[in-house]
Amino acid sequence: MKKIITLFCVAGLMAAPAAFATPASDALLAKYKSEGVTRIDAEKAKKDWSKEVKDEDGEMMSCSICHGKDLSKSGQHHKTKKVIEPMSPKVNPERFTDEKKIEKWFKRNCKDVWGRECTAQEKADFLTFLLAQ
């Protein structure tokens, strides 16, 4: 019996933060910390999400142009019009479950929107902001 109760407690502990973290996101946040990130600022990421920057073609770009501002809703690729599933892990539990995938899209999208790769600090901020949506 004791064993079962312990199991339940462990399961409960594991389940509670599950909506806001995944093994992949934990691993990445740990990696960003090892790269020098000490303080995470999700508020900055929130502002950066809609910050518009002119791209090479003179078009205004931001994360929200494709992903939208309400992250519980799906977005749309600005050129191909392909539907982008919601970023919110609450609505879309597949989000942030694959470390490689997260890094792949950080790399591509930061370059596309800001014309450069994001720093570990920016990625840590964005990831934390997105996990809370």
């Binding site: 073609d57 690729h77 050129k79 191909t80 392909k82 490689k100 790399k107 591509r108 370059k111 596309d112």
Partner: protein, 186 residues
């Protein structure tokens, strides 16, 4: 054995071997009757996932190998029609190989063959399927208002906007439905 039965047997054998030569798998050819006519549908999970996350996962049979070689290149993907589509080296190598192996000029599927013929000797190799002579010809009679001027189509690049079975590699006219123009065929 009776003569009739013999002839039937020989005919059957000829049909089977004919199909077997044209197709990689007889069973597959028999269960998919459109197999020979169209382009081979995408049967590579990684390719479907990587290409299909941003746009319609164009079947490799829609372009010749020389085009895929230009497109699916590490450097070229950093500016993929204006977008960054960088891939990890191992992923790129896999999907590049898949595209090259199943390219129009490596395929026996009829529509792919037509694309292979239309792009033979064309240099530099086309980067867009919409630049292929055969594709252009097939769409030339469709008025601009139904494609560019159509808010639910916009461009020829969105195959699946009108080709309702595009994801199966089927592009024949009977399967076309142009949004907002139900009687486009008249």
């Amino acid at each position: 054995m009776q003569k009739k039965a013999k002839i039937a047997l020989v005919l059957a054998a000829m049909m089977v071997s004919g199909v077997a030569v044209a197709e990689e798998s007889l069973i597959e050819a028999l269960v998919t009757p459109l197999r020979q006519k169209e382009v081979r549908s995408v049967d590579n999970k990684k390719y479907k996932e990587e290409c299909g996350s941003c746009h319609f996962a164009y079947q490799p049979g829609l372009l010749p190998a020389k085009s895929w070689a230009r497109l699916l290149d590490e450097k070229a993907l950093t500016d993929h029609f204006g977008e960054n589509a960088e891939l990890d080296r191992d992923v790129l190598s896999d999907i590049r190989q898949y595209a090259l192996d199943n390219a129009a000029d490596k395929s026996y599927w009829k529509r792919a063959r037509k694309i292979a013929v239309a792009t033979e000797g064309v240099e530099p190799a086309p980067l867009r399927i919409t630049e292929v002579r055969y594709i252009k010809r097939k769409h030339q009679d469709i008025p601009e208002k139904m494609i560019k001027g159509n808010k639910d189509v916009k461009s020829l690049s969105y195959c699946d906007a009108c080709h309702t079975q595009a994801n199966k590699g089927v592009f024949e006219a009977d399967t076309v439905q142009i949004p907002n123009y139900p009687d486009w065929d008249d």
